[in-house]
């Protein structure tokens, strides 16, 4: 009975028990999707393919899509147990990035619109 417990208890942080877990295919799919997103971004910004006032939103969506592709296919963040802590840390990082950028833009645009007109 006790013998069957051994494999679970014997693991220590130094153990390298696995071979590689990801394949060449993951990187190739990721590269294809990333190139697609990049080219779409450049095309959308230079043409009237999108309704012009919607171009910033389109660019933001494409950038987030490409970042997602990089995270999943290049950095291998997934739903597996190995990624749980990394994803929690990433969520906190995203929160800080969002607060810093959107907060700065919001405050400064408010400040700019309340400036006295400059004497010409």
């Amino acid at each position: 009975m006790t013998d069957s417990f051994e494999p679970v208890f014997d693991r220590t942080p130094g153990v390298e028990e696995h071979g590689p877990t990801v394949s060449y295919l993951s990187y190739s799919v990721g590269l294809g999707l990333a190139i697609l997103a990049t080219i779409t971004s450049f095309v959308v910004s230079q043409t009237d393919l999108l309704w012009p006032p919607g171009i910033p939103v389109g660019l933001i969506v494409l950038a987030f899509a490409q970042i997602g592709v990089h995270l999943v296919f290049f950095l291998h963040l997934g739903s597996g147990p190995d990624s749980t802590n990394n994803i929690l840390a990433l969520a906190f990082g995203v929160l800080i990035v969002f607060l810093v950028i959107s907060g700065s833009v919001w405050i400064i645009s408010n400040l700019n619109s309340n400036m006295m007109p400059m004497p010409q």
């Binding site: 069957s4 417990f5 494999p7 679970v8 208890f9 014997d10 693991r11 220590t12 942080p13 130094g14 153990v15 390298e16 071979g19 590689p20 990801v22 394949s23 060449y24 990187y27 190739s28 990721g30 590269l31 990333a34 190139i35 990049t38 971004s41 450049f42 959308v44 910004s45 230079q46 012009p52 171009i55 910033p56 660019l59 933001i60 494409l62 950038a63 490409q66 970042i67 990089h70 995270l71 290049f74 950095l75 597996g80 147990p81 190995d82 990624s83 749980t84 802590n85 990394n86 840390a89 990433l90 906190f92 990082g93 800080i96 990035v97 810093v100 950028i101 700065s104 833009v105 400064i108």
Partner: protein, 211 residues
């Protein structure tokens, strides 16, 4: 023995399922080291977020000088983007070769990664030199200060990544693909992929954003 304890140590429980939740023994060193490095990368990205915020706020402050639309060369920005993306790809393939203990193939991919990263840096430095020559250096306007700070900081990261790659390749050649060297390579690849993620933000906000 309580039933909960039996559940936890039961050999039927795949240890894969227990990772990161404290059951099934500690996570392997590879996972722990990569997690620590991931925290560093997130810190770096938070620093970049401050530079992005500065650029977003200052991009209209041209002080009567040239605007982004007049200065930037989209074709070279596109070539830079492709260089960095392809170097991320070859970097990933290099790590896979290293994990499979194929040193020769790893060295080829590492060389490709280095060449593509160096090409990116070369185009960027050429562009910077062209701007400074035109009188659009970092001291011309708030917009250009923010531009050179944001893009320059990214460029410095790429340059230090290239130096680190040379150092790691030297380790692979002298010490072989032993576990400690493999873990350093893994951390380096996380750094390199993260730089590509930051670059996605740069080309979207700096080069493509409609003025």
């Amino acid at each position: 023995m309580t039933s909960a304890a039996i559940d936890r140590i039961s050999p039927e429980l795949p240890s894969e399922l227990a990772r990161g939740r404290g059951g099934g023994g500690p996570a392997p060193k590879r996972i722990v080291v990569a997690y620590g490095f991931w925290i560093f990368i997130l810190g770096d990205i938070v620093m970049f977020s401050a530079l992005f915020a500065a650029y977003a706020v200052l991009s209209g402050s041209t002080a009567g000088g040239p605007t982004g639309a007049e200065l930037f060369n989209l074709r070279s920005a596109f070539i830079e983007t492709m260089c960095l993306l392809l170097s991320s790809y070859t970097c990933g393939l290099g790590i896979l070769s290293a994990e499979r203990r194929k040193a020769a193939r790893f060295l080829i991919f590492a060389a490709l990664t280095f060449v593509l990263g160096a090409a990116f840096l070369f185009i960027e430095v050429t562009e910077f030199a062209r701007l400074v020559e035109k009188g659009a250096g970092p001291s011309r306007s708030g917009f250009l200060s923010a531009f050179f700070t944001l893009v320059g900081t990214h460029g410095i990261h790429v340059a230090s990544g290239l130096i680190a790659l040379v150092y790691l390749v030297a380790q692979v050649i002298t010490r072989g693909l032993r576990p400690a060297v493999l873990r350093r390579l893994l951390c380096w690849s996380l750094f390199w992929h993260a730089l590509d993620i930051v670059w996605v933000g740069v080309f979207t906000l700096v080069y493509l954003w409609p003025s």
